[in-house]
Amino acid sequence: MTVLMEFIKVSKKYRKSDTLALDGVSFELKEKERIAYLGPNGSGKTTTCKIMSTVLYPDSGKVLFHRQNIFKMRKEYLKKIGVMFGNKTKLMENIKLQDAFLLLGHIYGLPEKDIKKKVFYYAERLNVGHLLDKRLREFSLGERTKSELIGTLLHDPEMLILDEPTIGVDIISRYEMYELLKDINKTRGTSILITSHNVEDIKELAERVILINKGKVVFDGGFPEFKRRFGVEEKDVVLRFRNYTEFEKAKQELSGFVKRIEGVNLHLAIRDEEMPRVLNKLVSFQDYEILIKEKDLSEILRRSFSA
């Protein structure tokens, strides 16, 4: 695969707060690649996205797109990428959504016919077709986010930079977004770089993970290796028993998975591949409630980095 973007020894210091946000960060993004760019809060993720989208300028280092400096071809470069910042919109809020898309399409120099065709297609895919005659200010957060994604895709970007795109979005909307993004990646070869605190985003979209902490890259590898090293494939399961005998029985039989006990509640940590075996055992117990939680990525990263 051809290299699309090169981030070469990029540093950025915030002088007012005396923070070194990026300290010689280097990585490459290839065509068709899907990268999750992760790190704890304040690690430099958003700074990277802002530099990649020419919003911020680095103090040193180079950022190349097709081997050309992005800051020397800013407007041309911005036509080739799509940028989405979670909870922020580039669409006008008081006019009808379809007009807001028309304006955005005109800014990218697209013919009106093409804009309408694409808007209709994406709106159907993301289930917001019924909103085209309404105004963005009347939308729910999920509807706004899906509209913003359509706006980001209108000009068929070669690369997408998605900074926490699903923040505050419900699970159904998130899966609609994942499906569309995977489809675009597959059919058009659009590269994706995503930052998120949501495990589901990473599981669904990332093939490769770059982990950043205190402005330095601390991990760069495939998603399976990342899962193994950072325990992402584990789920937190809580069993709430109403019967003490059943609680004791479960405690013994699931002893290998017990992480914590609170009264008659068992807190278990179960890896994805062990889940079927545990579920088989659970069938034999009675009088309990089960709660399965995805691991919180921020928590995993916080623990990993503080260890």
Partner: protein
Amino acid sequence: MKYLNIAFYSFKDSLISLSDFIIMSIRPFTILFIQFFLFKYVFSHEREVGGYTFSMIVAYIFVVGFISTFVDAGSFPYKMESSYIKGTITTELVLPVDYYFFEYFKNLGQRLAFSLQFIIANLILYILGGIKVKLINVLFFIPSLFLAFTLNFSMYFIVGSLVFRFVKIAGITEVVRFLGGLTGGRLFPLSFLPEVIQGFITRLPFAYTVYFPANILLGKGFTKEDIIIFLFWTFLMTFSSILIFERLRETAEGYGG
């Protein structure tokens, strides 16, 4: 073409935001109301002041009401400050446009929307009030109005760009607004002032944002020197604003979150 689209949709956006539209429409008329009665009192004692009769001053305050509403960009630095602190400015900076022209045309659309009622008020005054405006004056007035808009917008764009350095720019914005109000001829014709002060103020850029275009429309005449100063300030401010914005943008650190 894309910039004209920005102006068009911004015009639409401003009309649809009804509460803003009503407030922004009423505000200039309240000043006009006060000015009218103030000048009525002044002209009850004098037939002519600074080369203006009462009917001419009424025409002046209506025309100035329109021009100052049309060229107004005083809220732009506040918008920049708020979007910089909240980080929403990033969504505009990632668009493949020149930011100056993007905001220029957005503001143009918005100001057109907010000036509509003044155009109507001026037409009523023209038809019912017996005010005579020559066609040649209108032909000179239109380009001068757009130049005035450009000049005023560029000055506030420079102030707005300071957000990249200072983050909080309300103080400096208010100073510029105050100077603009005082020396732009918004409250009274600058010819009311003593000649020495007048000579100084009419060389400052603010005089060309309101007073000068109003004089053109009302047939007060202008010299070659006036045109040169007007063009000088407009080009200087436009180029400076683009350069200052780009320069300061490179040093920006924040954009909230």
